[in-house]
Symmetry: C2
Subunit: 411 residues, 2 copies
């Protein structure tokens, strides 16, 4: 079965707005085994909209409209769909009454204009909206179905989940869907793809998607089968070789981000961590404390931007800074050791480098990064040269630091 999604509203056609409802709806439809073939954003234009609805219903079994159900003149989804189906709009006093009560509940008088929301397309099922004023509608016609859903995402999601999904599940032939999600770090997207494409390209089912953001890669495998057993077998057949190829670059198999994985490992070992950051300015601490409950393992940290602060707060020796410079393996080591000494943490991570965009001069080119990890056994430093702007360099460095800690914890 095929689906089309139409978002309605001129405000959705600005350079800033993105139609996120369609992403949610696509995910839910895919889970049912339904593919989205087209999606559109159409402004407040009765003729364009009714034309689009007519054509969508002529070639797809499922057409979902979002938005344009409000009380104002601009809101013309009801009229457009009625026009496309050549059906009448019928005033339903019960809906108007419910609306009036809702307003009364919030101690407000209902403006006359709100009564427009009580018009329903002939033959449609009304979908009550418990999170807003605009009711939705479900209309079947010659084997196809059109859904009119409100635009605000929390209203749309609640209505779709509770009222449309059960109805759709009865319409759509049953399929079992199983997914495998691997998260990987420490390599680029194209390197990853080159490595695993020979495995997954042979299969249309499971479908493979690779997502990349901020030095973090996600591999999604989705298998659709008649039984759960078949789906599991397919996932193992494709996922197994991929896992083998990637080895310990895979840090998560359940969707958890790297900071959560590292946090769980620390918690399990009753270990703690502290940080010392130069050019990342607190970003590593922020990542390590993003997860709730991080106080179980995160003790604290030092943001030491200047040389004076590195000496003062972390006890980095002036000779180290003089001889090797602030951006050096030696300074990174001294920072990590200093943070660990001052906080008594099991592990300490330290970052020093040139985030740019101004060239680092004697500190080396932009993107030069030293990340150190200290524990009872001593210190270890990793060196990388990142490309890109300041934000990219800082984000990739923080990811690298978290991965360094993960690898240390795995041993």
């Amino acid at each position: 079965m095929d689906a089309e999604i139409i978002a309605v509203g001129s405000e959705m056609l600005t350079p800033q707005r993105v139609d996120t409802n369609s992403l949610y709806l696509t995910g839910e439809l895919n889970n049912l085994g339904v593919e989205v073939k087209t999606k559109c954003v159409i402004g407040d234009d009765l003729e364009r909209l009714s034309d689009a609805v007519r054509r969508a219903l002529s070639r797809s079994e499922i057409v979902i409209l979002s938005g344009g159900l409000g009380p104002t003149e601009d809101d013309m989804t009801r009229e457009a769909v009625a026009l496309a189906l050549d059906r009448k709009l019928v005033f339903q006093p019960a809906i108007a009454e419910a609306l009036a009560q809702r307003f009364a509940q919030f101690k407000r008088a209902m403006a006359e204009i709100n009564k427009r929301q009580a018009f329903v397309i002939e033959g449609a099922h009304v979908l009550p909206n418990d999170r807003g004023t605009a009711p939705g509608q479900w209309i079947e016609e010659s084997g196809a179905v059109a859904m009119l859903l409100p635009g605000p995402p929390h209203e749309l999601k609640a209505m779709f989940e509770r009222q449309c999904l059960p109805r759709l599940a009865r319409m759509v032939p049953k399929q079992i869907i199983r997914t495998l999600q691997l998260r990987v770090t420490g390599m680029g997207e194209s390197d990853l793809d080159q490595l695993i494409a020979p495995v997954y390209k042979k299969y249309a089912n499971p479908a493979t998607t690779i997502l990349a953001a901020n030095g973090d890669l996600q591999i999604h495998l989705r298998a659709r089968c008649a039984t759960a057993g078949e789906a599991e077998v397919l996932l193992a057949e494709v996922g197994g070789p991929i896992e083998l190829l990637l080895g310990d670059r895979i840090y998560s198999r359940n969707g958890d981000p790297l900071d959560v994985v590292v946090g769980e490992m620390l918690r399990k070992r009753h270990a703690t961590v502290s940080v010392a950051e130069s050019c990342t300015g607190g970003m590593l601490g922020e990542r390590l404390t993003a997860a709730p409950g991080s106080s179980d393992y995160f003790l604290g940290g030092f943001i030491t931007y200047s040389n004076a602060m590195k000496m003062e707060l972390l006890g980095v020796a002036p000779e180290t800074l003089d001889q090797f410079g602030a951006v050096s393996s030696e300074t990174a080591e001294a920072m990590a050791a200093g943070a660990r000494r001052r906080t008594n943490s099991t592990y300490a991570l330290a970052i020093t480098g040139v985030a740019g965009p101004d060239a680092g001069g004697e500190d080396g080119p932009v993107g030069t990064m030293f990340v150190a990890i200290a524990d009872a056994a001593g210190t270890h430093v990793a060196h990388r040269q990142f490309l890109g702007d300041r934000t990219r360099v800082r984000t990739f460095t923080v990811q690298m630091a978290l991965d360094l800690l993960r690898r240390r914890l795995w041993r």
Copy 2:
């Protein structure tokens, strides 16, 4: 003049992908005074695509397609547009030759399949692609124009800017566009809208847009007029009263974010700042160091998650923590004073609070936040109760801390 945008490719119809090309194109078209009336994403389906192109060209003067120009079977934008216009595809040996040279330059042999990219729709102008292999095409037909652009954003942008914009500028009636951008913090989006809507609602020109993210609000006014003078007058007529209503809640008139504004103020005064963070874990330091050159004014900071760290690193007195608790006005003050003392900075900001999601117990409910600022004159504490999840609470608190410093610097 009206425009439609069509993004091509089944990979754009997944739950993860968003068509960002259309946002860029909409912005550029709006700048020319052209409105986007419809935008669509269509999968790799020749019939659907050619039908969409035919209908778009029948009602809009400008139709822009992105993607589907690659060398594989899936790439069918050329065929679909040729079909829609009932024109032939013509093989251009010169393009094939240029492609082969490009491959040779990267020391790779060109696969036979790449020759598909050398087919051009009869009567089209070829748009060379200096950032990729797929050339674009510009086709005029009965007063309308269709553009075929490559999908990768950096290829599309370069081609559109250099080759399409100048051609479009000759087609579109001249308009002058002037914008006013105000950035505001310290109030909610609906409060802001309620305050200024009575002013801007009276005007369709300038068009007003309000964007909200992470406690930060942006107001964009866009005036379109025949002359720059008229546009400036219109902006003053609407922008003036808005600025008056918002007063010192406006922190920027040139688009600079709050951390940059604060950084500039510190730099001008030759002042420095340090931070002491509890529940934000480094996020304030990260914001203050996001701008290049922040080492001019940012000295360093302390991430003190535990009570022990607050005492150890910042010298917060045990009695203060015992008597008032870690989440208190008194502890925030002591943290700020401690950070300032230890770094010798002109200003110090400190944050302590309950970011959640677990209830704070004796520390008060989730979202309780104390932000302190210390300088030579003493310390000052602000208290707020934020709603939302951990990320939202932390982000809003950091924004509040930056605003506290801005207000102190303005006095």
